[in-house]
Amino acid sequence: MKYRGVAVCTPNKGDTLSFWDDLINGNIYSSTLPHLFHYAKNSKSSFWKLRTTNDLLGCFNLPMSRQAHNEFLLLQHELEQFQPVTNDSKDEWVFIWGQSKYSSSRYYQHHFANEIPHPAFTWMWKSKCVPKIKFFTWPVLNDRLNTRSMLKRRHKFLEEGYNCALCHDNREEIIEHLLFSCPFTATRWFALGIYWREDGNIFERLHAAKQRFPLPFLHGSGHDWCLVHME
Protein backbone atom coordinates (compact mmCIF):
# COMPACT_ATOMS: atom_id res chain seq x y z
CA MET A 1 0.00 0.00 0.00
CA LYS A 2 1.34 3.39 -0.94
CA TYR A 3 0.34 5.05 2.31
CA ARG A 4 2.75 2.78 4.12
CA GLY A 5 5.58 3.96 1.93
CA VAL A 6 5.29 7.56 3.14
CA ALA A 7 4.41 7.09 6.80
CA VAL A 8 7.35 6.41 9.12
CA CYS A 9 6.79 5.02 12.58
CA THR A 10 8.89 5.48 15.67
CA PRO A 11 7.64 2.54 17.66
CA ASN A 12 7.04 2.94 21.38
CA LYS A 13 4.55 0.33 22.38
CA GLY A 14 4.31 -0.90 18.86
CA ASP A 15 0.76 -2.17 18.73
CA THR A 16 -0.56 0.07 15.96
CA LEU A 17 1.85 -0.96 13.29
CA SER A 18 2.25 -4.04 11.22
CA PHE A 19 5.71 -5.45 11.64
CA TRP A 20 6.22 -6.70 8.13
CA ASP A 21 4.56 -4.03 6.00
CA ASP A 22 5.15 -0.69 7.72
CA LEU A 23 8.17 1.52 7.39
CA ILE A 24 10.14 1.11 10.63
CA ASN A 25 13.44 2.91 11.18
CA GLY A 26 13.95 3.36 7.48
CA ASN A 27 13.18 -0.13 6.24
CA ILE A 28 10.21 -2.31 5.45
CA TYR A 29 11.02 -5.69 6.95
CA SER A 30 9.14 -7.72 4.39
CA SER A 31 11.49 -6.39 1.72
CA THR A 32 14.73 -6.23 3.74
CA LEU A 33 14.27 -9.73 5.14
CA PRO A 34 12.52 -11.39 2.20
CA HIS A 35 13.48 -14.98 2.94
CA LEU A 36 12.42 -14.84 6.55
CA PHE A 37 9.15 -13.14 5.64
CA HIS A 38 8.37 -16.15 3.51
CA TYR A 39 8.37 -18.36 6.62
CA ALA A 40 6.34 -16.07 8.85
CA LYS A 41 3.21 -17.69 10.25
CA ASN A 42 1.27 -14.46 10.55
CA SER A 43 2.18 -11.91 7.92
CA LYS A 44 0.00 -9.29 9.65
CA SER A 45 1.34 -9.52 13.18
CA SER A 46 2.11 -6.27 14.94
CA PHE A 47 5.48 -5.04 16.04
CA TRP A 48 4.43 -5.31 19.66
CA LYS A 49 3.51 -8.98 19.31
CA LEU A 50 6.87 -9.93 17.88
CA ARG A 51 8.76 -7.86 20.41
CA THR A 52 7.10 -9.25 23.52
CA THR A 53 6.78 -12.88 22.52
CA ASN A 54 8.88 -15.37 24.48
CA ASP A 55 9.09 -17.78 21.62
CA LEU A 56 10.23 -15.79 18.63
CA LEU A 57 11.10 -18.92 16.68
CA GLY A 58 7.55 -20.13 17.15
CA CYS A 59 6.28 -17.28 14.97
CA PHE A 60 7.82 -18.92 11.91
CA ASN A 61 7.16 -22.06 9.97
CA LEU A 62 9.95 -24.56 10.52
CA PRO A 63 12.22 -25.82 9.11
CA MET A 64 13.58 -22.72 7.38
CA SER A 65 16.31 -22.30 4.83
CA ARG A 66 19.86 -21.23 5.63
CA GLN A 67 19.34 -17.71 4.25
CA ALA A 68 16.19 -17.32 6.28
CA HIS A 69 18.00 -18.49 9.39
CA ASN A 70 20.71 -15.87 8.88
CA GLU A 71 18.02 -13.25 8.59
CA PHE A 72 16.35 -14.62 11.68
CA LEU A 73 19.53 -14.14 13.74
CA LEU A 74 19.76 -10.61 12.38
CA LEU A 75 16.18 -9.91 13.40
CA GLN A 76 16.70 -11.39 16.85
CA HIS A 77 19.68 -9.13 17.34
CA GLU A 78 17.77 -6.06 16.18
CA LEU A 79 14.81 -6.75 18.45
CA GLU A 80 17.11 -7.15 21.47
CA GLN A 81 18.78 -3.88 20.59
CA PHE A 82 15.51 -2.04 20.30
CA GLN A 83 14.86 0.25 23.25
CA PRO A 84 11.53 2.05 23.32
CA VAL A 85 11.44 5.54 24.79
CA THR A 86 8.52 4.71 27.00
CA ASN A 87 6.84 1.38 26.98
CA ASP A 88 3.23 2.42 27.24
CA SER A 89 3.00 5.58 25.21
CA LYS A 90 1.48 5.59 21.76
CA ASP A 91 3.51 5.06 18.63
CA GLU A 92 4.53 8.19 16.84
CA TRP A 93 3.68 8.42 13.20
CA VAL A 94 5.61 10.87 11.10
CA PHE A 95 5.47 11.27 7.37
CA ILE A 96 8.60 10.72 5.37
CA TRP A 97 8.93 14.46 4.68
CA GLY A 98 9.16 15.14 8.41
CA GLN A 99 5.72 16.33 9.49
CA SER A 100 3.10 14.54 11.52
CA LYS A 101 0.30 16.14 9.52
CA TYR A 102 -0.55 14.78 6.12
CA SER A 103 -0.22 17.19 3.24
CA SER A 104 -1.12 16.19 -0.27
CA SER A 105 1.27 18.68 -1.85
CA ARG A 106 4.16 17.25 0.15
CA TYR A 107 3.15 13.80 -1.03
CA TYR A 108 3.19 15.09 -4.58
CA GLN A 109 6.60 16.70 -4.17
CA HIS A 110 8.00 13.62 -2.49
CA HIS A 111 7.52 11.73 -5.74
CA PHE A 112 10.10 13.98 -7.40
CA ALA A 113 12.48 14.18 -4.43
CA ASN A 114 15.16 11.98 -5.97
CA GLU A 115 15.70 14.10 -9.03
CA ILE A 116 18.45 16.66 -8.81
CA PRO A 117 18.51 18.90 -11.87
CA HIS A 118 21.17 21.45 -12.72
CA PRO A 119 20.79 24.70 -10.72
CA ALA A 120 20.54 26.54 -14.03
CA PHE A 121 16.83 25.68 -14.05
CA THR A 122 16.33 27.49 -10.79
CA TRP A 123 18.36 30.49 -12.00
CA MET A 124 16.20 30.59 -15.07
CA TRP A 125 12.79 30.47 -13.34
CA LYS A 126 13.94 32.87 -10.63
CA SER A 127 15.31 35.43 -13.09
CA LYS A 128 13.54 38.70 -13.70
CA CYS A 129 12.96 38.46 -17.43
CA VAL A 130 9.50 38.07 -18.96
CA PRO A 131 7.91 34.60 -18.98
CA LYS A 132 8.11 34.38 -22.74
CA ILE A 133 11.90 34.32 -22.58
CA LYS A 134 11.94 31.92 -19.68
CA PHE A 135 9.89 29.58 -21.78
CA PHE A 136 12.38 29.99 -24.61
CA THR A 137 15.25 29.16 -22.26
CA TRP A 138 13.62 25.99 -21.03
CA PRO A 139 13.91 24.04 -24.32
CA VAL A 140 17.43 25.41 -24.73
CA LEU A 141 18.49 23.89 -21.42
CA ASN A 142 16.73 20.64 -22.23
CA ASP A 143 18.05 20.46 -25.80
CA ARG A 144 14.50 20.65 -27.14
CA LEU A 145 14.71 23.90 -29.05
CA ASN A 146 12.98 23.98 -32.40
CA THR A 147 16.07 24.38 -34.55
CA ARG A 148 16.62 23.07 -38.03
CA SER A 149 18.77 20.33 -36.63
CA MET A 150 15.76 19.31 -34.55
CA LEU A 151 13.73 19.03 -37.75
CA LYS A 152 16.46 16.79 -39.12
CA ARG A 153 16.33 14.64 -35.99
CA ARG A 154 12.61 14.25 -36.59
CA HIS A 155 13.23 13.24 -40.22
CA LYS A 156 11.51 16.24 -41.73
CA PHE A 157 12.75 17.23 -45.17
CA LEU A 158 13.81 20.84 -45.67
CA GLU A 159 14.52 22.13 -49.18
CA GLU A 160 16.94 24.83 -48.10
CA GLY A 161 19.01 22.41 -46.03
CA TYR A 162 19.68 22.31 -42.33
CA ASN A 163 22.34 25.00 -42.11
CA CYS A 164 22.22 28.07 -39.93
CA ALA A 165 19.99 30.80 -41.32
CA LEU A 166 21.91 33.64 -39.69
CA CYS A 167 25.39 33.10 -41.14
CA HIS A 168 26.89 31.66 -44.33
CA ASP A 169 29.40 29.30 -42.76
CA ASN A 170 27.55 26.15 -43.81
CA ARG A 171 27.25 25.01 -40.22
CA GLU A 172 24.32 22.95 -39.10
CA GLU A 173 21.84 24.88 -36.97
CA ILE A 174 22.35 23.20 -33.62
CA ILE A 175 21.77 25.01 -30.31
CA GLU A 176 25.49 25.45 -29.56
CA HIS A 177 26.08 27.05 -32.92
CA LEU A 178 22.96 29.17 -32.96
CA LEU A 179 23.44 30.61 -29.50
CA PHE A 180 27.21 30.72 -29.03
CA SER A 181 29.52 30.20 -31.98
CA CYS A 182 27.56 31.77 -34.84
CA PRO A 183 29.25 35.07 -35.88
CA PHE A 184 25.94 36.90 -35.79
CA THR A 185 25.27 35.83 -32.22
CA ALA A 186 28.87 36.45 -31.18
CA THR A 187 28.56 40.14 -32.05
CA ARG A 188 25.44 40.40 -29.88
CA TRP A 189 27.19 38.73 -26.95
CA PHE A 190 30.16 41.03 -27.45
CA ALA A 191 27.90 44.07 -27.30
CA LEU A 192 26.58 42.86 -23.95
CA GLY A 193 30.03 42.02 -22.63
CA ILE A 194 29.34 38.37 -21.98
CA TYR A 195 32.03 35.94 -22.99
CA TRP A 196 31.35 32.25 -23.38
CA ARG A 197 33.75 29.40 -22.92
CA GLU A 198 34.75 27.65 -26.11
CA ASP A 199 34.15 24.12 -24.90
CA GLY A 200 31.91 22.19 -22.57
CA ASN A 201 28.17 21.67 -22.57
CA ILE A 202 25.64 24.40 -22.07
CA PHE A 203 25.53 24.08 -18.28
CA GLU A 204 29.32 24.37 -17.92
CA ARG A 205 29.31 27.41 -20.19
CA LEU A 206 26.51 29.04 -18.24
CA HIS A 207 28.29 28.37 -14.96
CA ALA A 208 31.57 29.83 -16.20
CA ALA A 209 29.89 32.90 -17.67
CA LYS A 210 27.87 33.44 -14.50
CA GLN A 211 31.06 33.52 -12.45
CA ARG A 212 32.79 35.94 -14.78
CA PHE A 213 29.96 38.35 -15.45
CA PRO A 214 29.78 40.94 -12.64
CA LEU A 215 26.07 41.81 -12.81
CA PRO A 216 23.19 39.54 -11.81
CA PHE A 217 23.22 37.02 -14.56
CA LEU A 218 20.42 35.56 -16.65
CA HIS A 219 18.78 38.91 -16.49
CA GLY A 220 20.21 40.65 -19.52
CA SER A 221 21.09 37.49 -21.33
CA GLY A 222 17.45 36.55 -21.50
CA HIS A 223 16.72 39.65 -23.48
CA ASP A 224 19.52 38.91 -25.83
CA TRP A 225 18.32 35.41 -26.41
CA CYS A 226 15.04 36.91 -27.28
CA LEU A 227 16.81 39.17 -29.74
CA VAL A 228 18.51 36.24 -31.39
CA HIS A 229 15.26 34.38 -31.46
CA MET A 230 13.38 37.16 -33.17
CA GLU A 231 15.79 37.75 -36.02
Partner: protein, 157 residues
Protein backbone atom coordinates in the same frame (compact mmCIF):
# COMPACT_ATOMS: atom_id res chain seq x y z
CA UNK B 1 -41.46 -0.88 -8.44
CA UNK B 2 -43.38 -0.31 -11.61
CA UNK B 3 -43.28 2.88 -13.59
CA UNK B 4 -46.92 3.65 -12.89
CA UNK B 5 -46.41 3.30 -9.17
CA UNK B 6 -43.34 5.53 -9.34
CA UNK B 7 -45.23 8.19 -11.24
CA UNK B 8 -48.10 7.97 -8.78
CA UNK B 9 -45.77 8.40 -5.78
CA UNK B 10 -43.96 11.25 -7.48
CA UNK B 11 -47.30 12.90 -7.97
CA UNK B 12 -48.13 12.54 -4.28
CA UNK B 13 -44.82 14.04 -3.15
CA UNK B 14 -44.80 16.63 -5.89
CA UNK B 15 -41.43 15.71 -7.34
CA UNK B 16 -40.05 14.16 -10.50
CA UNK B 17 -38.90 10.64 -11.22
CA UNK B 18 -35.11 10.74 -11.66
CA UNK B 19 -32.54 8.12 -12.49
CA UNK B 20 -28.98 7.27 -11.51
CA UNK B 21 -26.37 8.61 -11.90
CA UNK B 22 -27.23 12.19 -11.05
CA UNK B 23 -25.20 15.13 -9.81
CA UNK B 24 -25.07 15.46 -6.06
CA UNK B 25 -23.03 18.30 -4.52
CA UNK B 26 -21.28 18.81 -7.82
CA UNK B 27 -20.14 15.22 -8.19
CA UNK B 28 -21.76 12.42 -10.16
CA UNK B 29 -23.46 9.96 -7.84
CA UNK B 30 -24.42 6.51 -9.01
CA UNK B 31 -25.31 3.07 -7.73
CA UNK B 32 -22.56 1.37 -9.69
CA UNK B 33 -18.97 2.34 -10.45
CA UNK B 34 -18.93 5.53 -12.47
CA UNK B 35 -18.29 5.19 -16.16
CA UNK B 36 -16.28 7.46 -18.38
CA UNK B 37 -19.43 9.04 -19.80
CA UNK B 38 -20.43 10.14 -16.29
CA UNK B 39 -17.42 12.44 -16.30
CA UNK B 40 -18.71 14.23 -19.40
CA UNK B 41 -19.57 17.46 -17.51
CA UNK B 42 -15.95 17.75 -16.37
CA UNK B 43 -14.58 17.21 -19.86
CA UNK B 44 -17.13 19.62 -21.31
CA UNK B 45 -16.03 22.30 -18.89
CA UNK B 46 -12.40 21.82 -19.90
CA UNK B 47 -13.28 21.97 -23.58
CA UNK B 48 -15.24 25.16 -23.03
CA UNK B 49 -12.21 26.82 -21.47
CA UNK B 50 -10.09 26.01 -24.50
CA UNK B 51 -11.75 28.70 -26.49
CA UNK B 52 -10.29 30.19 -29.61
CA UNK B 53 -8.59 32.95 -27.65
CA UNK B 54 -5.70 30.70 -26.65
CA UNK B 55 -4.64 30.67 -30.30
CA UNK B 56 -3.22 34.16 -29.97
CA UNK B 57 -1.25 33.51 -26.81
CA UNK B 58 2.47 32.84 -26.61
CA UNK B 59 3.90 29.57 -25.29
CA UNK B 60 4.52 31.03 -21.85
CA UNK B 61 1.01 32.36 -21.45
CA UNK B 62 -0.46 29.10 -22.68
CA UNK B 63 1.63 27.30 -20.08
CA UNK B 64 0.15 29.61 -17.49
CA UNK B 65 -3.33 28.86 -18.80
CA UNK B 66 -2.73 25.12 -18.59
CA UNK B 67 -1.19 25.30 -15.12
CA UNK B 68 -3.64 27.56 -13.40
CA UNK B 69 -6.93 27.02 -15.22
CA UNK B 70 -7.15 23.65 -16.91
CA UNK B 71 -5.13 21.61 -14.41
CA UNK B 72 -7.12 22.88 -11.49
CA UNK B 73 -10.58 22.21 -12.95
CA UNK B 74 -10.61 18.50 -11.99
CA UNK B 75 -9.31 19.13 -8.46
CA UNK B 76 -12.73 18.98 -6.81
CA UNK B 77 -13.49 15.70 -8.55
CA UNK B 78 -10.13 14.28 -7.60
CA UNK B 79 -10.60 14.99 -3.89
CA UNK B 80 -13.18 12.27 -3.58
CA UNK B 81 -13.18 10.21 -6.78
CA UNK B 82 -10.48 8.24 -8.48
CA UNK B 83 -10.49 9.48 -12.07
CA UNK B 84 -10.41 6.65 -14.62
CA UNK B 85 -7.28 6.46 -16.76
CA UNK B 86 -9.32 7.26 -19.86
CA UNK B 87 -10.55 10.54 -18.40
CA UNK B 88 -7.02 11.52 -17.42
CA UNK B 89 -5.90 10.69 -20.95
CA UNK B 90 -8.58 12.90 -22.44
CA UNK B 91 -7.68 15.80 -20.15
CA UNK B 92 -3.99 15.30 -20.95
CA UNK B 93 -4.79 15.36 -24.65
CA UNK B 94 -6.49 18.73 -24.26
CA UNK B 95 -3.66 20.09 -22.13
CA UNK B 96 -1.00 18.97 -24.61
CA UNK B 97 -2.91 20.50 -27.46
CA UNK B 98 -3.39 23.74 -25.59
CA UNK B 99 0.26 23.97 -24.59
CA UNK B 100 1.92 23.14 -27.89
CA UNK B 101 -0.67 24.06 -30.51
CA UNK B 102 -3.06 26.44 -28.80
CA UNK B 103 -6.30 24.44 -28.96
CA UNK B 104 -6.37 24.57 -32.74
CA UNK B 105 -6.89 20.92 -33.62
CA UNK B 106 -6.36 21.33 -37.32
CA UNK B 107 -2.93 22.87 -36.82
CA UNK B 108 -0.10 20.43 -37.40
CA UNK B 109 3.04 20.28 -35.35
CA UNK B 110 4.78 18.19 -32.76
CA UNK B 111 5.29 18.49 -29.04
CA UNK B 112 8.69 19.94 -28.24
CA UNK B 113 9.27 17.80 -25.19
CA UNK B 114 8.05 14.52 -23.78
CA UNK B 115 5.01 14.80 -21.54
CA UNK B 116 6.87 13.17 -18.64
CA UNK B 117 9.49 15.89 -18.76
CA UNK B 118 6.84 18.60 -18.93
CA UNK B 119 5.05 17.19 -15.90
CA UNK B 120 8.02 17.58 -13.58
CA UNK B 121 7.95 20.54 -11.19
CA UNK B 122 9.72 23.68 -12.33
CA UNK B 123 12.48 23.24 -9.77
CA UNK B 124 13.15 19.74 -11.11
CA UNK B 125 13.67 20.71 -14.71
CA UNK B 126 10.11 20.44 -15.97
CA UNK B 127 7.39 22.96 -16.74
CA UNK B 128 5.38 22.40 -13.58
CA UNK B 129 2.31 20.94 -15.27
CA UNK B 130 0.51 18.80 -12.72
CA UNK B 131 0.60 15.04 -13.08
CA UNK B 132 -3.09 14.30 -12.63
CA UNK B 133 -2.91 10.66 -11.59
CA UNK B 134 -0.28 11.42 -8.97
CA UNK B 135 -2.22 14.43 -7.74
CA UNK B 136 -5.34 12.27 -7.56
CA UNK B 137 -3.47 9.76 -5.44
CA UNK B 138 -2.15 12.46 -3.15
CA UNK B 139 -5.58 13.96 -2.62
CA UNK B 140 -7.24 10.61 -2.00
CA UNK B 141 -4.54 9.72 0.48
CA UNK B 142 -5.87 12.59 2.55
CA UNK B 143 -9.11 10.68 3.07
CA UNK B 144 -7.15 7.63 4.18
CA UNK B 145 -5.17 9.76 6.60
CA UNK B 146 -8.38 11.19 8.08
CA UNK B 147 -9.67 7.67 8.52
CA UNK B 148 -6.57 6.50 10.41
CA UNK B 149 -6.37 9.62 12.56
CA UNK B 150 -10.00 9.29 13.56
CA UNK B 151 -9.54 5.71 14.63
CA UNK B 152 -6.62 6.48 16.90
CA UNK B 153 -8.43 9.45 18.47
CA UNK B 154 -11.42 7.27 19.31
CA UNK B 155 -9.16 4.62 20.75
CA UNK B 156 -7.49 7.06 23.12
CA UNK B 157 -10.56 8.87 24.38
Amino acid sequence: MGQERAAQLANVFGCQVGSFPFTYLGLPLGLTKLQVKDYAPLICRIERRLSASSRFLSYASRLQLVNSVISSLPTYYMCSLKLPATVIEIIDKHRKNCLWRGSDYSKKGYNLAAWNLVQKPKSKGGLGVINLSLQNEALLMKQLDKFYKKRTYNGSS
